[in-house]
Assembly symmetry: C2
Homo-oligomer: 211 residues x 2
Amino acid sequence: MISEKTIERLSLYRRFLNIFYDEKIENIYSHQLADMFGGSAAQVRRDFMSLGYNGKSRVGYKVKDLLDCLNDFFNTSEKVDIILVGIGNIGRSLITYFNTSNSHIHICAAFDKNDYKINRVISNCRSYHIDEAENFIKKNSIKTAIVSVPAIEAQNVSEKLQKAGIKSILNFSPVRLSLSKKTYVEDIDIGITLEKVIYFSGKNSIGVKNV
Amino acid sequence: MISEKTIERLSLYRRFLNIFYDEKIENIYSHQLADMFGGSAAQVRRDFMSLGYNGKSRVGYKVKDLLDCLNDFFNTSEKVDIILVGIGNIGRSLITYFNTSNSHIHICAAFDKNDYKINRVISNCRSYHIDEAENFIKKNSIKTAIVSVPAIEAQNVSEKLQKAGIKSILNFSPVRLSLSKKTYVEDIDIGITLEKVIYFSGKNSIGVKNV
DNA sequence: TAGATTGTTAATCGATTAACAATC
DNA sequence: TAGATTGTTAATCGATTAACAATC
């Protein structure tokens, strides 16, 4: 059983390894990766073990093989199509961000309930009315959605998505969604996070450890 | 010592309590709040204790008093001015988001290195050249900054901010910043997070607990 | 070989929860 | 009182780290 935190680290390793690979570095040691994001070398080794990839003593890990392994794990060889609901400022910037970087993730459609926002194209992504979402999801077997609608719409929208077959949601709305446990929900709550950051800028933060 | 996770929960309680307050609900129980975001009632009570606020058995907690207490804790009575560096799509949407909602947080200035992005006004926030940041920060005693520059600029920009007196950073760039521990850094790495969400949409996710 | 790094176990740490006497 | 909720302690859980024999 691989934990959520481990998944995050693995994804980060993948990013680092891509850089190493571009720089034609062939081998790396656990402590090098550990230094790069403040973890321990033991943790890095344990993570790779959980992935089923073994290094060699005194040699470390082969960048290319390890990267292949990570790419396999995240299925980055094939494009992943996801959708976005809620074409506000944040929604639009996410579309541009993902569809113009060379990521394997592609936002293939966006949905909104406002008529003036539909039937447009942003960075290769066409927008539709929210009522068309269910059909689209089923037809294209979409599994993942980004929700960036206003707080008051979020619960309702997510329930619709779940019914249509969405298995995981990245939620930017400042609301906790209550959905059946079958759907994985991850929240990015920028307001809460910023509040926390501001808190730690004050004198209160003396003695806090920056993990 | 209040942990980071506790701070996050406290901020979330504040949001819920505002809703209760608007609905003129006078008292709440720990288990009500616990239900709202899937924690335990014991945790909620412990959090309020760490805040120094005590409830009464059989009565619960006074919404108004508790809210006052939380507002005090987060210093929400006075506006907090923060700055933003990197006026890309995400940067712009953050400015609009915070400066048009009725939050106590205000992005009072934005900075960029591209000339065509400076000397403009977005949602009550004027943009300046990055070279003017140091002066601005010192002059206005700014303590918190949002960094939303491209990956390659992030380390350099953050070092400048730190030197100018910034105490905490909310970092949207897909890079780990290495700064002295005196500066608190919180990362929102949308790419990594989305990768994780996509991972849990697959068959891999069977048996995973949705914390 | 000597030295460095690995895989892996045991110890540590911290956060969360369960439980219950005290309280209203 | 009886019953429900609190503050608080003890137990649990999981993640992280330290340590070290095995390995090249």
